[in-house]
Symmetry: C2
Subunit: 199 residues, 2 copies
């Protein structure tokens, strides 16, 4: 059985839960609050030298880090990941877009506003995340004008990866009102069998 | 024949060249200087709505963005990407590590010091990148204490992705002297058939 080390309020961790639930795979969830310092202990660093969540224990002592590598691993051979070479690469394109052009703005703004002990002190940093976040949302909107999901007209881990922080983007101060295609896509993701929300 | 839109001084673009050269695949290189504004023109945005390099044209009108998605695509079915499910996911783990925990520090510090029109004005931002960059190098060092390459004891696209900005980390102000395993790994990468350096 898979064991997940994760924090339930983290979108990166939530992606892993979404895939496990959608695929009805049995798993144990080991809840960790990163603010407790647990991910910086020698015990945890022996499992993941980069000291980050989520972390998947595949077998005794066999660990896989990085949320998008984990969901790719779990989805291999299932309908959540296309078999065709180009479509697989397109899924990866959106996974890397998510980690480089989306998460550092939308997830970080949400973290600062919702979880920082003194959000007011972080105002300038939070504000500096808005342009990049809106740029990412505009790129998503443009893609979703062409089809119901990000790759190949079907629900894949590209949708799951991008859903994780987009559905709570308002907590980072982002207004999704003008992103009509993004909003109807969020609803389509939420209608998938086995869907779990983060709130 | 593949067509690459790239900037030769960019490590992200250089990854694509390294894979194409290692695999002896024919390609045309379309040199673009991002500072010229070309990647923000309607023509380029029609090819890649995220406005970034590198971009691979696979077929007429079929584009793939994100350096690490491109090199995964090119390496499928070759010795540069393992077939085993766990090893493939481990390669992806390092590709996501590179884009999230390495590039935003080491590549950005290099960009600010070497390519910014007024590097002195960016000193505080450059300095803020040092801790994260050294953390990434320490994680790499720890992994390379265990084996000659990042995954499965052989040369893969995980090595290529991490080589791209590590071999020019000094241009970002990073001192690799104490990272003995990283330094011997750089030499091993440089000894691979078809190796091309960025300088």
């Amino acid at each position: 059985m898979f064991k997940v080390y994760g924090m339930s309020t983290s979108g990166n961790c939530h992606k892993v839960r979404m895939v496990l639930e959608a695929l009805k795979l049995p798993y144990a969830w080991n809840e960790i609050d990163t603010r407790s310092g647990t991910t910086r202990t020698p015990e945890f660093l022996a499992k993941n030298p980069n000291g980050k969540l989520p972390l998947l224990e595949i077998d005794s002592g066999v660990y896989l880090a990085e949320s998008n590598a984990i969901i790719f691993y779990l989805a291999e051979g299932t309908p959540l990941l296309p078999n065709a070479r180009l479509e697989r690469a397109q899924v990866l394109q959106w996974l890397f877009f998510e980690q480089y052009s989306h998460e550092p703005y939308i997830a970080v703004a949400r973290f600062l506003r919702r979880f920082h002990p003194d959000p007011g002190s972080q105002r300038a940093l939070t504000d500096s995340k808005m342009d990049g976040g809106y740029r990412a949302l505009a790129v998503m909107e443009q893609q979703l004008e062409r089809g119901p999901f990000f790759v190949g007209e079907r629900y894949t881990i590209a949708d799951i990866a991008l859903y994780a922080y987009t559905h709570v983007a308002d907590e980072g101060g982002f207004d999704l009102n003008r992103f009509l295609c993004v909003r109807s896509w969020l609803a389509r993701v939420e209608a998938q069998p086995g869907h779990v929300s983060m709130r």
